[in-house]
Symmetry: none
Subunit: 110 residues, 2 copies
C-alpha cells in the first residue's frame, strides 16, 4: 500500500482536512462534523494522513487531537519547485514571442 504525501493530498476531502486543522488542532469528532460523509470515512482519511506523516495525533483522555505536520508538504514543494525555472522560462519566451508578433503586426500594418 503506497502511503506518500502525493497520494495523500490527491483527495480533496483530505486537503480540506489539512486546511481545517492547519491553524488549530481538532479532535476526530470535530473534524468529521464538518463533512457530509460518516465519521468512519473521515477517520479513514485521517488514518491515511497520519500514515504518511502529514498529521500527528495527540491523545488526551478519550479525545485525540489531530495536528497538521505541514513540514511534510516540503516533499511536494521541492518536487514542484524543481520545475519552476522551466515553466517561468517558458512563459518568458512565450511572452517574448508574443511581443515579437505584436511588433511584426505593427510594422506590417504601417
Amino acid at each position: 500500500m503506497r502511503r506518500d504525501v502525493f497520494q495523500a493530498i490527491a483527495d480533496p476531502t483530505r486537503r480540506e482536512i489539512i486546511n481545517m486543522i492547519a491553524f488549530k488542532s481538532m479532535n476526530v469528532n470535530s473534524v468529521s462534523e464538518n463533512f457530509d460523509v460518516s465519521r468512519a470515512a473521515v477517520y479513514k482519511h485521517l488514518k491515511i494522513l497520519t500514515e504518511c506523516g502529514l498529521v500527528k495525533i495527540k491523545q488526551k483522555g478519550r479525545e485525540r487531537y489531530c495536528e497538521a505536520k505541514l513540514e511534510k508538504l516540503i516533499e511536494v514543494s521541492s518536487w514542484v519547485e524543481q520545475y519552476r525555472k522551466l515553466w517561468t522560462g517558458r512563459l518568458d519566451s512565450l511572452d517574448n514571442y508574443l511581443t515579437d508578433l505584436q511588433i511584426k503586426a505593427k510594422q506590417d500594418g504601417k
Copy 2:
C-alpha cells in the same frame, strides 16, 4: 471522473513521465519504452495527464509529441505555499503551544 492536477501527480509513474518530458518533448512510443509496463498503460497515464492539462499533444505525421505544460503545477505550488509560513518559523510552534493550552484547559476545567 475527477481530473485535477493533484490526482494526476499522485501516481509515481506519471511523475516520472513529467520528469521525462520536462526538458524535451517525446512521442508516445519513446515515452513508453522507458517503462516496464505496456504501451497501453503508459498511454492511459498520458491521457490522464492531458485531461488535466499537464501535458499537451502535438501531432506530427503519425507520431504524437508529448509536451509538458509545467505551468499547470502552479495549482499545486500555490496550495502548498499557502502553508509555508505556518511550517517555517514560530507560527508552527505557536500551534503546538495552543494545542497544549487547549488540552490543559480541558483538564483544568473538569
